[in-house]
């Protein structure tokens, strides 16, 4: 075991690893409700149950016992994994070596107004608990959750948080009830996000309201296994819409982040779009550039869950794909499908590692190059990208 020097609390260490997907949860429904408007409490939580719906249309492995969480992530003081910001800081920031993490709460509600109020409530809770009270180290960043169903209100919510020092991005569900991302429906939101230089991230949300399960075009698999292997095709659909429906032309400063949907599919999707654009330019007068150029400029992908293919062909594939400027490392802490930084670093071609583990997220979110060390951390712990 290497010993780690004790450091003074105010010591700064270099940012080595940025984690672009971490899931905080309120410690109880009552705590969350305390941030909601009084007249909405009974409408959103009529039975006072479930803080946040966990995926239940499909069983993840052993989910009845593990609740889809890392078994070793439950806080020793009690409570659900991801509910204790200080224990999360110990496991993720200190033990796993993450310097800065972007927090993405998972929540959704069925009716448009309820969705908006619930997400605003989460924003107030996140800003208070994770970005203020438990952020003396300044290493948590947050997401402004917004309603996909109410884009005007989503835009106002973006404005409400735009100046916040620790809110790094906007967060919207990809389960948009049949409206693809490139649709002008989202224009008010994209306009507000772009103007405030906030990327719009998307992440699988809970699967409790019925219509949030996307009905796959040829029907749904029976098991989480084949369901989740096919899941990137939802992001593919949204990306093709963003390009072909002209969203990037209408919003030249928009940046979109696809979280937890893989990224190796980006290579074939870019070439498909390029080929069909070349053959059907007349159908797309509003699409001024080659589709793959839009992807390189406007889109980022987080890396978790990494495929467990043989490392040599995997790295070769990433070299062919040449998206070293577009990938951002993520762990998905504290979920079961967590990728550890130590494992992930070696999966990438050496020439892309620094950008993926730190540089791309730093540039996208305007992150600092140093952060305050936590007890147990020291400058002696360094990360090699060689």
């Amino acid at each position: 075991m290497t010993t780690i020097e004790r450091v003074e609390p105010q010591t700064e260490i270099a940012v080595a690893i940025v984690d672009t997907d971490v899931h905080p949860m309120p410690v109880s429904t009552d705590v969350l409700k305390s941030y909601a408007p009084a007249d909405w409490v009974d409408k959103i939580w009529p039975t006072g149950n479930a803080v946040t719906p966990l995926p239940h249309f499909y069983d993840t492995p052993d989910s009845y016992k593990t609740m889809s969480m890392r078994v070793d992530a439950a806080p020793p003081g009690g409570g659900f994994a991801g509910t204790d910001p200080d224990y999360a800081a110990k496991q993720l920031l200190v033990d796993a070596g993450v310097s800065i993490a972007t927090l993405e709460p998972m929540c959704d509600a069925q009716l448009p107004q309820a969705e908006h109020v619930l997400k605003s409530t989460y924003n107030d809770w996140l800003a208070d608990v994770w970005l203020d009270k438990h952020n003396a180290h300044g290493r948590w960043r947050g997401s402004i959750s917004v309603s996909a169903q109410a884009p005007e209100q989503a835009a106002r919510e973006v404005e409400r948080w735009a100046g916040h020092p620790h809110m790094a991005q906007v967060l919207m569900t990809p389960q948009t009830r049949g409206i693809p991302f490139g649709n002008p429906h989202f224009d008010p939101l994209y306009e507000a996000a772009s103007r405030n230089e906030l990327p719009v991230a998307t992440h699988l949300m809970g699967q409790t309201p019925f219509e949030l399960i996307p009905l796959y075009p040829v029907g749904n698999p029976a098991h989480w296994h084949d369901f989740f292997a096919s899941w990137p095709l939802l992001y593919v659909s949204h990306l093709m819409s963003l390009v072909f429906d002209g969203a990037f032309d209408r919003h030249p400063d928009l940046r979109v982040v696809f979280v937890e949907g893989g990224f190796t599919w980006a290579m074939p999707v870019m070439s498909r779009m390029d080929r069909i654009w070349e053959a059907r330019r007349a159908d797309l007068p509003h699409v001024r550039r080659r589709p793959s150029e839009y992807v390189r400029e406007h889109v980022r992908f987080t890396t978790q869950p990494l495929e467990d293919a043989d490392v040599k062909p995997f790295r070769e594939y990433l070299e062919m794909m040449d998206l070293g400027d577009n990938l951002m490392f993520s762990t998905d802490y504290p979920h079961w499908s967590y990728d550890s930084p130590a494992y992930a670093i070696n999966r990438f071609p050496a020439a892309q590692r620094e950008r993926i583990m730190r540089g791309n997220a730093t540039a996208l979110y305007g992150l600092p190059s140093t952060v305050k060390a936590l007890p147990g951390e020291g400058p002696a712990v360094s990360v090699s990208f060689e």
């Binding site: 069983d59 492995p61 990809p174 948009t176 049949g178 409206i179 693809p180 991302f181 649709n183 996307p214 009905l215 796959y216 075009p217 040829v218 029907g219 698999p221 029976a222 098991h223 989480w224 296994h225 084949d226 989740f228 292997a229 096919s230 990137p232 095709l233 939802l234 593919v236 659909s237 093709m240 819409s241 072909f244 429906d245 893989g262 190796t264 599919w265 290579m267 074939p268 999707v269 070439s271 498909r272 779009m273 390029d274 080929r275 069909i276 654009w277 053959a279 059907r280 007349a282 159908d283 797309l284 869950p305 495929e307 467990d308 293919a309 062909p313 594939y317 062919m320 079961w336 499908s337």
Partner: protein, 350 residues
């Protein structure tokens, strides 16, 4: 030798199909020949083929284009039907009519012996589909069973298994191809309807992956060692990323479906083939050879022109950038093995 594994012959005119329908169905309303779920602006077919006859409807013209001009030795004809219309019994009669028309107008009179055909069946009518396979499987020129890409359930689900079992028993691969017509179907993308034709055309072929994943995970391939599926619209460019995912999660999910006793991608060589498409593959031909090695695609891919579609490609297009062994595999070897087609000797007949 060159084998074209994907050609769509068409009826000459709408009423023609009625000659092949039984009396009880002859006066029913069915979608037109030209009807497509998502129309390509300007027409679905190659511009130069609209003329005296409906594109792809004249046997001599098609033969001249493929065999004489194109240098192709065999062409596998896979006609469209009219969509997953609500009345599944009528749909099965439409499939049978299309099959009888194919035999009558294309295969029986073909003295060149270069055309082969498909037994179109309706998966929404499993009993009818099995009966249709049994009716026609013995015909030497019918080399595969054909079903639509469009479906309200993925093909690994149990209601379809008797169909695949019948196909495998007759050593007939099952070709999945985007169908024409007008069906009761879900929106074509995972995010709803596409609002541009390119948004539809670029995405739609990728839906094969859900059929493929379920055929593996539900154990269909495991239970039927002789069953082969052909995904005739391509989409193999996304095969590696999604199979990597399917392989990765197998170690986590194995206990829910323990009949899957190997890595999902281990099922590909014995059970899966693709027809080439104009939309698949790296845009840099310099990457093509290495890219073909991922997921063993060189053994899975068969040239398919898609004639008379507007995106129809030539053998040279399909072979662009390949090394000579990959080229032979794609242009004839894989299809020759799958369909039992051998080089013809001049002057002999079947």
């Amino acid at each position: 030798m060159i084998i074209d594994a994907n050609v769509q012959p068409h009826f000459r005119y709408n009423a023609e199909i009625r000659k092949y329908l039984p009396a009880a169905h002859r006066l029913r309303s069915i979608p037109d020949v030209e009807q497509q779920w998502y129309q390509a602006p300007g027409g679905n077919y190659r511009e130069d083929l609209y003329g005296e006859h409906y594109p792809g409807s004249d046997r001599d013209t098609v033969a001249r284009h493929l065999f004489d001009d194109g240098g192709v030795d065999y062409a596998v004809l896979n006609p469209l039907t009219r969509g997953n219309i609500a009345d599944y019994l009528l749909n099965s009669r439409i499939c049978a009519a299309v099959n009888d028309w194919l035999l009558d107008r294309w295969l029986e009179p073909d003295t060149t012996n270069r055309f082969r055909g498909t037994i179109r069946v309706n998966p929404e009518d499993p009993k009818g589909a099995v009966a249709e396979i049994e009716r026609l499987a013995a015909h030497p020129k019918l080399v595969q069973v054909g079903v639509p890409m469009q479906s309200r359930e993925p093909y690994g689900k149990p209601m379809f298994e008797p169909i695949w079992e019948a196909a495998a028993a007759h050593r007939l691969p099952v070709a999945v191809h985007i169908n024409g017509g007008n069906g009761v179907d879900y929106p074509p993308t995972f995010a709803g309807h596409a609002h541009t034709y390119p948004g539809y055309a670029a995405f739609m072929p990728l839906n094969y992956f859900v059929h493929l994943a379920t055929l593996i995970i539900e154990g269909v391939f495991g239970r039927h060692p002789d069953l082969k599926f052909v995904f005739a619209d391509g989409g193999y460019d996304i095969l590696t990323p999604l199979m990597w995912r399917l392989d990765t999660f197998w170690l986590s999910m194995r206990d829910q479906t323990p009949w899957v006793d190997r890595y999902p991608s281990d099922y590909l060589p014995a059970h899966v083939r693709f027809c080439s498409s104009a939309f698949d593959g790296p845009t840099d031909p310099g990457q093509m050879q290495r890219w073909m090695e991922f997921s063993g695609k060189a053994d899975l891919l068969m040239y398919g022109s898609g004639y008379p579609h507007w995106s129809a490609s030539s053998p040279a297009d399909a072979a662009d950038g390949l090394d000579s062994s990959q080229r032979d595999n794609v242009l004839w070897r894989n299809a020759s093995e799958l369909y039992g087609l051998v080089a013809q000797v001049e002057g002999t007949t079947v």
